[in-house]
């Protein structure tokens, strides 16, 4: 399989506190990779290192064959941060248009892209409203729409389903599945096990260590349990033991 993102031996510390310990991962085209772990485990730090917003103390990140950080590569990445990061005084459409222009979306495709991405998250009716009048869920959806605006080859989504109702959640997952089929690569972080079950490949993270990885089905089989939560607990325990030894 063609690797889109490779993270090799990445270490990262803040104020002498080790946040990431020897993180390795590969995200491939046609695949949804899930980073799963409790808050504070280091998921967002991994994302920031992938995006080039942070630089690893040790190890390297490569995307589409380019060593990160690299400004040009960002053109092919759709990014959605944990915070909604929207311009509150602008309307939904103006937010989408602003980012579309920063990505250099052509003028004749601009409206088409805006309508399409808004459609994915069911926001077409609300594009004219100012974001300050949006509900929390609407902001989350707009944020997701922005990450799709330039039709990226790689999607990096930090906790995309928080505050989104089950029906829309289903719709979004179907859309992500479609992108993967089209050959895009998707990296997603979550602490919700239902989301984890949707991924093709899972990385379980605890305190900056990757404790186990594999497809949801193979993980359940490996640890001989019937749900992912159990996998996480068991893997965590065995990891603790091996660390102590």
């Amino acid at each position: 399989m063609d690797a889109v993102v490779t993270v090799t031996h990445v270490d990262k510390s803040f104020n002498k506190k080790r946040i990431l310990h020897d993180v390795n991962l590969t995200a491939s085209a046609h695949e949804i990779l899930g980073l799963i772990g409790p808050s504070g485990a280091g998921k967002t730090t991994i994302i920031k290192n992938i995006m080039g917003m942070e630089q690893p103390d040790d190890g390297k990140v490569t995307i589409f064959g380019n060593r990160m950080p690299n400004r040009q590569v960002l053109q092919r990445i759709g990014f959605m941060a944990q915070d909604d990061a929207l311009y509150e005084s602008l309307t939904g459409r103006e937010n989408l248009k602003f980012f579309a222009q920063l990505f250099g979306v052509k003028k004749d495709q601009l409206n088409e892209r805006i309508e399409y991405t808004a459609g994915v998250v069911n926001l077409n009716q609300d594009l004219g409203k100012r974001v300050s009048n949006y509900s929390g869920g609407m902001k989350r959806r707009l944020s997701l729409a922005i990450s799709l605006i330039q039709d990226p080859d790689l999607l990096v989504l930090d906790e995309p389903t928080v505050g989104i109702d089950p029906e829309l959640r289903r719709q979004i997952w179907d859309e992500l599945r479609k992108y993967a089929k089209d050959g895009k690569s998707i990296i997603i972080t979550t602490h919700v096990m239902e989301d984890a079950a949707e991924c093709d490949e899972l990385l379980m993270i605890r305190e900056g260590h990757i404790i186990t990885h594999g497809s949801p089905a193979s993980l359940e089989k490996e640890y001989n349990v019937d749900n992912l939560e159990q996998v996480f607990l068991k893997a965590g325990k065995s990891n603790e033991n091996s660390n102590n030894n």
Partner: protein, 389 residues
């Protein structure tokens, strides 16, 4: 292209925020009008003084429109009277000695009294001199008459040899010196406000742009939109330039509004070219903007941004020409030269009051541009904190 996208966004955000708009465009006009009236009334100061045992002729000479005299009938303590009645001064004559006591709470009133008393004393002395001259003149005439009589009594041959007295002819009348005053800059009614205007124009543009741009980048950082911005292929420099153009344009509009207000509402004359004034203000706004953006990297909240005002903005007022920099101590002059507002205010004063052309203010203008360059570079480095490339 991306620069313009950012500029446009800043404009839209700005014009939707009515409070900030009011701060940028109405607040400066409000402050200027207030100062206009405050400094105008300053010329009508009247000092109350008490007098005791001062001759009425002297009192009359002291009296002018800036002095109000209260005659005391009994011998009272000067200090007590000043304290009780809130007089600005007290004049007392004892044994041919004139004693003036000042309240000295308001130095301008002290100065008025000092001047009036000195003027009065000079006038009194002049008067005495004039009467003395008159006396000697009448004496001289008498002597001449006597001389004439003696001359008549002498034999005629001798009298012809004695020249006729010509003293009367030679005694010239004192010529009256006529005073005509010319003002190189401004008019006779130029108030303190006229002098202050260029300084405050520069200061207002600097202050408001500094505050608003700094807070705006801070918000962008705190709402994480800056992270999102930097997750696009935008260059760090494009963000800085986008901000500079956006707020630079706002600053131009602000300056234009202030300048037009001064010309047409407060009817203050701007002697130099308005375009040069606008250009200097624009450059000054750019420096304020780049300083604001840079300083905002060290602030975690709007409140912390406001905390920079006493450190970064207020000291600049002192060095902007309100106090003549040339009279300052050497080390203070050095400080003045690292203040952007010093150059801005000096250039604006030259253009507005002394009709300087652009070429005359090029030195100050280039100093402003140098500040701008330094802060733009600092900002580019500062942005590295958020994205390494």
């Amino acid at each position: 292209m991306r620069i313009l996208t950012i500029t446009k966004r800043i404009f839209v955000e700005m014009f939707r925020d009515k409070r900030t708009l009011a701060l940028m465009f109405v607040a400066p006009l409000f402050i200027l009008s207030l100062m206009y009236f405050l400094f105008q009334s300053n010329t009508n100061t009247v000092a109350d003084i008490g007098t005791y045992n001062v001759s009425s002729s002297l009192v009359k000479t002291i009296d002018n429109k800036h002095i109000k005299i209260h005659k005391m009938t009994s011998d009272v303590s000067a200090k007590k009277t000043i304290r009780d009645k809130d007089y600005a001064g007290f004049i007392k004559k004892t044994d041919g000695k004139l004693t003036v006591t000042y309240q000295n709470a308001d130095q301008s009133k002290t100065a008025i009294i000092k001047k009036s008393v000195q003027m009065a004393l000079i006038k009194v002395q002049m008067k005495q001199l004039v009467t003395a001259t008159k006396k000697s003149k009448t004496g001289l005439i008498k002597m001449q008459a006597q001389l004439q009589q003696i001359k008549k009594q002498l034999p005629s041959t001798m009298s012809s040899q004695i020249p006729a007295p010509s003293a009367q002819k030679n005694m010239q009348k004192p010529t009256n010196l006529k005073l005509t005053q010319h003002y190189l800059y401004g008019k006779s009614d130029s108030s303190f406000f006229t002098t202050m205007l260029p300084v405050f124009l520069g200061f207002m543009v600097f202050f408001f742009v500094f505050l608003i741009s700094g807070i705006s980048l801070l918000n962008e950082r705190n709402s994480r939109t800056l992270d999102r911005l930097l997750a696009t292929p935008v260059k760090r420099s494009e963000i800085i330039y986008g901000y500079l153009t956006g707020y630079g344009a706002v600053a131009i509009i602000q300056t234009a509004v202030i300048v037009l207000f001064c010309i047409y509402v407060l009817s203050i004359s701007i002697l130099g070219s308005i375009w040069v004034v606008l250009l200097i203000c624009f450059a000054l706004a750019m420096v304020a903007l780049s300083m604001g953006l840079f300083v905002s990297t060290f602030a975690a909240s709007e409140f912390q941004m406001v905390q920079f005002i006493p450190i970064v903005v207020i000291p600049q007022i002192f060095f902007s020409g309100l106090i003549p920099v040339a009279n300052m101590a050497g080390w203070l002059q050095v400080i003045a030269h690292i203040m952007p507002l010093y150059y801005g205010a000096s250039a604006l004063t030259d253009v507005i009051q002394k009709q300087a052309s652009f070429s005359a203010v090029i030195p100050q203008f280039s100093a402003i541009l140098a500040f701008l360059l330094v802060f733009i570079i600092l900002n580019m480095i500062g942005m590295r904190k958020y994205r390494k490339v």
